[in-house]
Symmetry: C2
Subunit: 280 residues, 2 copies
């Protein structure tokens, strides 16, 4: 990565214009795909190191710090690829991953944030939400699954909830992977062309394509209403998978670097333990 920090280039909030963003762009990175893949490898080692420090600090250092990556996107935008290729490069023992599906009847009985809380990261953990509490202001708005009043109320509830999570020690990184409708069409076409990808194809995805402009509008409003200094949104151009992965990796690297993680000091007397070990 070079030029301005990627987080400044991708940060989105009031006035965001999703239609004006080039979904095939590579803001902050001037190399090509090959360069991007090389850079991802370099970043993977850095991310693994920082994640281990985060984990270690919670174990013997008493730190309550943690990180939460929220991934939102239209179908096929590459959430799974981020999980596999970016999050997959760190030690699985320090990762909590949850994919939010259609709420169960039990979940529907509760406030929309109820089902989210159990999946928040514990101390030292990197949690990833594959979809999230934002579905309740996205598909719910587009498909009228909630009333306009309910949806209106949720923006404030989300901000209050996220502030509470941040106060408990969690750094939140909110990412919208932004692809074009044309790119989605090409990716769905690939799934239909390869029998080993059939299982990823869902006919309902085509129905949702009809609502593309409505989804973009719902995303715009959600980003405008919930992008805060403490938990900003990042809109990541995602037509080029290699760039999206590199960008999210660098957002995580930035979040972890900001925690100034040091290896925790020994909570025992090193000399004494060396003697005990020698005698054992």
């Amino acid at each position: 990565m070079n030029d301005r920090p990627i987080k400044d280039l991708l940060r989105a909030g009031a006035g965001v214009d999703l239609n004006a963003i080039d979904t095939s762009g590579t803001p902050g990175f001037s190399g090509d795909k090959h360069d991007g893949e090389k850079a991802l490898e370099v970043g993977a080692a850095q991310l693994a190191d920082l994640q281990e420090r985060l984990f270690a600090a919670s174990r013997t250092g008493g730190s309550a710090q943690s990180v939460l990556l929220v991934l939102q996107a239209m179908d096929t935008a590459g959430k799974g690829g981020i999980v596999k290729h970016v999050v997959g490069s760190v030690d699985p023992q320090g990762v909590m991953l949850h994919a939010f599906k259609r709420p169960t009847p039990e979940e529907d009985k509760h406030d929309f944030l109820w089902r989210v809380r159990p999946h928040l990261p514990g101390p030292g953990m990197l949690a990833v939400f594959d979809r999230s509490h934002y579905e309740e202001v996205l598909i719910h708005k587009v498909r009228h699954l909630s009333t306009p009043e309910q949806i209106e109320e949720r923006y404030g509830q989300i901000t209050a909830f996220e502030n509470e999570v941040i106060a408990a020690g969690t750094t939140i990184v909110k990412v919208m992977l932004h692809i074009s409708a044309e790119e989605q069409k090409a990716r769905l076409g690939e799934r239909l062309a390869q029998p080993e990808k059939y299982w990823k194809y869902n006919p309902g995805d085509i129905d949702e394509r009809e609502f593309w402009p409505a989804y973009m509008d719902a995303y715009r409003i959600a980003i405008e209403r919930t992008s805060t200094d403490a938990a900003p949104w990042y809109v990541v151009p995602a037509d080029r998978k290699w760039y999206a992965r590199l960008a999210v990796q660098h957002l995580l690297l930035d979040a972890l670097s900001g925690l100034h993680l040091e290896w925790p000091p020994a909570n025992f007397d090193v000399a004494v333990e060396k003697s005990r070990l020698a005698a054992s």
Copy 2:
């Protein structure tokens, strides 16, 4: 890997003699560390492919198949390295990982298998137990945390439990990583020599070293009493980390290959969907 299949070489049951096993051996593999690391890379791609098939089969194929890897070992034997370097090579979305710690007061109120059940793999998942229900016949036996009668009863309870899990569609792979007391001493020494490893060091580990023969005896009995045709134990020599990783990877590859996983067929009309996509 070459020679006889590794699973035949490492399988243990009645008559197992842990003291007679060379913990620095590399059964079934004639190469050196460099060769072993190369082989691990080759296997990683195979494992990722098979795991994706397992996951896919559960999604649209309706398969209930899953895999459970049980890892037991003395401290420093390398359970964490197996998770990071073997399990870490597959898509995190298909992995459930649980580290069993000292039971909570709530867990202690229940049968010892109660806390295990929620962590069993769902359809299509690869679950990993970092320690497991076997602690209740290992440390409990060595440290007299349960009565001899309780421990005696548990071997049968474990076998019945595992048979039930297998009947529900889960393939169980039970691994004891087997290191020597000398190798453990060296590894603890490394943790004491490097400040970035202090967080992994626990003074209690030295106390446990005193009970090494008792632990080996408890492992022997557990293996003898619970190694079944349906869920055999494998004792993996683990003084060489590269070999232990390769061996566990191959045990998993063997388990997954045995499921004869095919990509699930389309649960939609491909031609119809292609038309719908083109028109969208």
